[in-house]
């Protein structure tokens, strides 16, 4: 598969405790030819992040989740892998945005998400990273 540069798809890790949001994001990015791994909890998301040898190109995480919050996910990922871009998404009426930016999220978006815009931001972040 080496050399088929055009087909090389980006690998995303998406974490959200809301099933609907998660499957919507999963479906959208899979259709767009991203390689998507998704998780319903911060803890499982971190485990996936740690066990993925080749790493992820980008992580999208919800902020308010039980046990391990999105803020924790971002801090832990940024500590282990400062170069991995992370996008935080927050629900309506929740206010941990300040914490997310302190944790060095690259971008904070609020729900409802405009998927096309989200993809533009992802491509932006990925091109900066290169």
């Amino acid at each position: 598969m080496e050399g088929v540069e055009m087909n090389k798809s980006y690998k995303l890790l998406i974490i959200d405790d809301n099933k609907e949001t998660l499957s919507m994001l999963h479906a959208f990015f899979s259709k767009k030819n991203y390689e998507v791994v998704s998780s319903l909890s911060g803890l499982d998301g971190l485990k996936l992040f740690e066990s993925e040898k080749k790493g992820f190109d980008l992580v999208i995480t919800d902020l308010v989740m039980p046990n391990i919050s999105g803020v924790a996910v971002i801090s832990i990922i940024k500590k282990k892998n400062p170069d991995t871009p992370v996008i935080a998404i927050t629900g309506w009426g929740e206010h941990p945005e300040a914490l997310a930016s302190e944790a060095k999220a690259d971008l904070i978006l609020s729900k409802p998400l405009q998927l096309d815009e989200l993809e533009v931001s992802i491509l932006d972040l990925l091109s900066i990273k290169k």
């Binding site: 803890l43 971190l46 039980p66 046990n67 391990i68 919050s69 803020v71 924790a72 801090s75």
Partner: protein
């Protein structure tokens, strides 16, 4: 106490809640992120805090605990931040606060839910800036402390009732560890009993003195308002008095007494209808995460239906076709409801 400093107390249990708690501890102990540990009194919040500390790179550094419920506001403030000589009457010499003492280590803010709003604001400022000053001084001191907070309050409720600051909650709640009440994880009771019997008394090391299975089963049905701490006390009493049956019976009897009255201490914080429903026959809710209005509605409806049907059945001496007519449902529906809602005919003596 000294021994506690060397090793973390063992967390005993095999319920999903305990297993998950241990997994969380292993995963987050090295992050230094703020953590809230919540659960009823005696469920093991402090044990969790100590395990976090012992598995963290801060092990060996100070572990400082302060109980935010035990002190009046002014005193708590000076305990937390310290004071300069002459900061207030009685401040005869400079005193370092818990933030200073915990520098480089861990500060456990126990019963954080009981902290006053004005002190919450001051604490928030310290957490945001990483700086504090002693009372009576302008000088800002840097603090590097890992903050663990414990509470038996439902802070989400306290926020709604404006007793807890939402911004402080978000800052502490980077990671949350919830310990469920012992009555919701009866599978932990036999292993806890085994562990503590062996710990308290060498006589139990050889397994021959272990209690009857039926007694353990009774203990698993008890509602343990004081959770693991209460279990420890019961076991100590049993060891002193040497009589399992008597003590277990005493507990069980007090359970029935409690069920008769509506003012059960463990649930007095909640509106009684809701707490009744939460503990209703089809199983208590595991925790707030599984709380949903839909579920409450279903449980409430079931309960009302059950009461109404039982009432009519009583009045008709369990004549089910008569009862169905009164209730204006079909005979078949009534039979289905009787079994679905587990309505049992009164025992005839």
């Amino acid at each position: 106490m000294e021994k506690d400093k060397q090793t973390a107390p063992t967390i005993i249990g095999l319920s999903p809640n305990v297993v998950k708690t241990k997994e969380l501890i292993n995963h987050v102990a090295d992050t230094g992120l703020n953590i809230i540990i919540c659960g009823e009194s005696g469920v093991g919040k402090e044990v969790v805090a100590q395990n976090l500390y012992h598995r963290s790179p801060r092990k060996g550094k100070p572990f400082v605990k302060i109980n935010c419920a035990a002190l009046p506001e002014g005193l708590l403030e000076s305990e937390l931040f310290g004071f300069e000589q002459g900061a207030f009457t009685g401040a005869e010499r400079r005193k370092r606060g818990k933030f200073e003492l915990a520098h480089g280590g861990v500060l456990l803010l126990d019963e954080i839910g009981d902290m006053s709003l004005s002190l919450q604001a001051k604490l928030l400022h310290v957490l945001q800036s990483g700086e504090f000053s002693r009372l009576g001084s302008e000088k800002e001191l840097k603090t590097d402390t890992w903050i663990l907070a414990a509470t038996n309050h439902e802070l989400e409720e306290d926020i709604k009732n404006e007793k807890f600051r939402e911004d402080l909650y978000y800052r502490l709640n980077i990671i949350k560890i919830y310990l469920s009440p012992l009555r919701e994880r009866p599978e932990d009771i036999p292993v806890l009993i085994d562990y503590y019997l062996k710990k308290y008394s060498p006589r139990f090391r050889n397994n021959s003195l272990n209690p009857d299975y039926s007694l353990i089963e009774k203990l698993q049905e008890y509602h343990w308002p004081g959770n693991v701490r209460e279990l420890q006390n019961v076991l100590k009493r049993i060891l002193v008095l040497g009589n399992w049956e008597e003590i277990v019976d005493e507990l069980t009897r007090s359970t029935y007494a409690k069920n008769d009255s509506t003012s059960d201490k463990a649930s007095s914080k909640e509106p009684s209808v809701v707490s009744d429903i939460l503990n209703s026959a089809d199983g208590p809710l595991q925790n707030l995460e599984s709380f949903s209005l839909k579920d409450i509605k279903r449980r409430a409806l079931n309960r009302v239906e059950k009461e109404a049907i039982s009432y009519v059945l009583d009045r008709t001496d369990w004549n089910r076709s008569k009862a169905a007519k009164i209730l204006k449902i079909s005979y078949k529906t009534l039979l289905y409801k009787i079994s679905d809602l587990k309505i049992v005919p009164p025992k005839k003596f």
